[in-house]
Amino acid sequence: MLYRTAGQFKTTYKADHALFPVRQDAWLLAFILLLAFVVFPLTASEFAFRALLIPVLIYSLAALGLNILTGYAGQLSLGTGAFMGVGAYACYKLMSIFPELNIVVAVALSGFFSAAVGVAFGLPSLRIKGFYLAITTLAAQFFLVWLFEKWGWLYNYSVSGAIQVPNISVFGITFAGPRASSVTQYYFVLVIVAVITWFAINITRGRIGRMWKAVRDMDIAAELVGINLMKAKLSAFAVSSYIIGVSGALFVFAWRGAAEPNLFDVSLSFRVLFIAIIGGLGSILGNYLGAIVIVALPVILGTLPQAMGIPVTPATAEHLNTMIIGSVIIFFLIVEPHGLARFWAIIREKLIIWPFPH
């Protein structure tokens, strides 16, 4: 009843092609956008911005990139962390070579660097498949992190080997660096995430997206019906790495403020993969749900014992955290291997016919 689609007639092809053909979906989206653009910035505390809102957005963007590669094109990747690093270091170098560059342009450009690296490491995917392919992305992961550490030019030969984000202002508003306010950074990230999400929804439901899905479901069959495998796989690597690179640049410039090479190690790759899998492979919505779970869980677990008055040392809390995240991942996989997005799909189905069971 709440989601009843009866009476929503589509009288033109254009209406049929709409991004959200069901009216309730559009309302829901409008509500979420209202929350994200108006309500959260007005009500959120500094802590909420730093620990929840900004990381959720950045992680979901990274997961979106990974999901395009793994969920839509079916190429398993374990090198997300390193590709995020490429984006971050590219943005850092761009900003230090051209200090006058607009930060938005720099972030957008840095994605192209990681896209290029992604395509280079994607080339073996034409021959290597499945878990064997995971090894080529892991090669990227370990090689690139090693490179971030050894290639002094990347971090301007700073003594610590880390990159520090300077204060960057556009039109008098500080977007990045120590002086930037959380609200500005939040809007900065939010706008980029919203634009890329819109782009991703459209690309995945169009010709290219269908090509990817065909390759994912069975690449030999896809080849037989005339899909150019090279084009499909490499375009998936390029688009995915571009998005991941942008998220990496935001990760450092709009959230962390500084980064050292081991920030981009394999555990970051796994965290993003968890988000994509818990959210649901092959869905756009899932990335946001997964990111909310993975980012919010440690925060909740960190504050819960104090709130309940149980004394726990920070070290124990952290280890408990790891343990609980491990169990939650297993739990989600057992309960719904298709991820939270499938949960939402089931709920939506039920709401359409509610209050009747069939």
């Binding site: 021959r127 290597i128 498949k129 090669a139 968890f274 070290a315 343990m323 491990g326 169990s327």
Partner: protein
């Protein structure tokens, strides 16, 4: 010219110039290669019998070693701690089968892979809570592993071979032989291989999937304990050991996911080649620490020519 010289000529000149050092490097490489091969063997066993890419093998090594040392520290005699640790690994195998694998039968590979990563995280957290995060010393002497060293003087140089490394190599060889005999001659071994060939056919002739999975995970646990003892004796026992799981992955890929021989040969090859590369090319030319990625790049290059690894089963694709 100078550059080419430093890549092509100089390293080999160094090798010939100091043959005793070269032997030392080769020996070190061989010992770590044996360890990589052992871990990869644990992976291969589980992959063969259940098509699960078991990421948790690395953490099982740490967990087994920590349990052994932890039990000893709590006053259990070393020789009693050993079977007790095996008991813990058996319980772990049963728990993993019951809680994680059984509900996930027939799921896509990636889901099972993620589940083993979940197991990894769980074991890391549990291990740190129970045993603490600090580095512990492996109870080498209490287990009657000799700790002295042999010294040789080949080519008028100097070569140091530690006895515990020799023990490690011999132990690993014995373990591998025992495993091969078990897999090829015993009834259970045949059942494991049958499951690896075809799940449904194996089930239909009355092989119990869950029993075999418990057995396989338990064997992987035994291998983990052996690896943990040997590696712990070299580098101490801590969660830093977990990185060796990442070392075993390229070994697997190089050898082929289904092949026991592949795991052994891949392990030895990667162990030796990465040491040679690090000493003669990595440190002088690239700033060192190339061991972090060398194995992967090597595996990648091999895979480009043989997508199923050196000894893997040929991938047959049908529509």
């Amino acid at each position: 010219m100078d550059f080419l010289n430093s890549i092509i000529v100089q390293p080999f000149a160094d090798m010939i110039g100091a043959p005793d050092f070269l032997l030392q490097v080769l020996w070190e490489g061989l010992v770590s290669g044996v360890l990589y091969a052992l871990i990869a063997l644990g992976f291969v066993l589980i992959f063969k019998s259940s098509r699960i890419f078991n990421f948790a093998q690395g953490i099982m090594v740490v967990f087994a070693a920590l349990t052994l040392v932890g039990l000893y520290e709590h006053g259990v005699p070393a020789l009693l701690a050993l079977p007790l640790t095996l008991l813990v690994m058996l319980i772990l195998a049963i728990a993993v089968e019951r809680v994680v694998l059984r509900p996930l039968v027939n799921q896509p590979d990636i889901i099972l892979f993620m589940a083993t990563i979940g197991v990894t995280l769980f074991l890391i957290g549990l291990g740190e809570i129970i045993f603490g995060g600090e580095n512990k010393v492996m109870i080498t002497e209490q287990l009657y592993i000799p700790t002295g060293s042999f010294e040789f003087e080949p080519f008028g140089g100097f070569l140091l071979i530690e006895q515990k490394d020799v023990t490690a190599v011999i132990g690993a060889v014995l373990l591998v032989i025992a495993l091969l005999v078990f897999l090829n001659k015993s009834k259970i071994g045949r059942a494991i291989r049958a499951l690896g060939d075809d799940h449904q056919a194996a089930l239909s002739v009355g092989i119990s999937l869950s029993t075999i999975w418990v057995i396989v995970w338990f064997i992987a646990g035994i291998i983990a304990l052996a690896t943990g003892i040997v590696w712990g004796a070299r580098a101490g026992v801590s969660f830093a050991l977990e990185v060796i799981a990442y070392k075993a992955l390229p070994v697997l890929m190089l050898g082929g996911l289904e092949s026991v021989t592949g795991a052994i040969i891949g392990g030895l090859a990667i162990g030796i080649l990465e040491k040679l590369f690090e000493i003669y090319w990595g440190q002088p030319l690239l700033g060192g620490n190339t061991e972090a990625w060398f194995a992967y790049v090597l595996a990648l290059i091999v895979l480009l020519f043989r997508p199923q690894g050196l000894f893997g089963e040929k991938i047959i694709e049908r529509v």
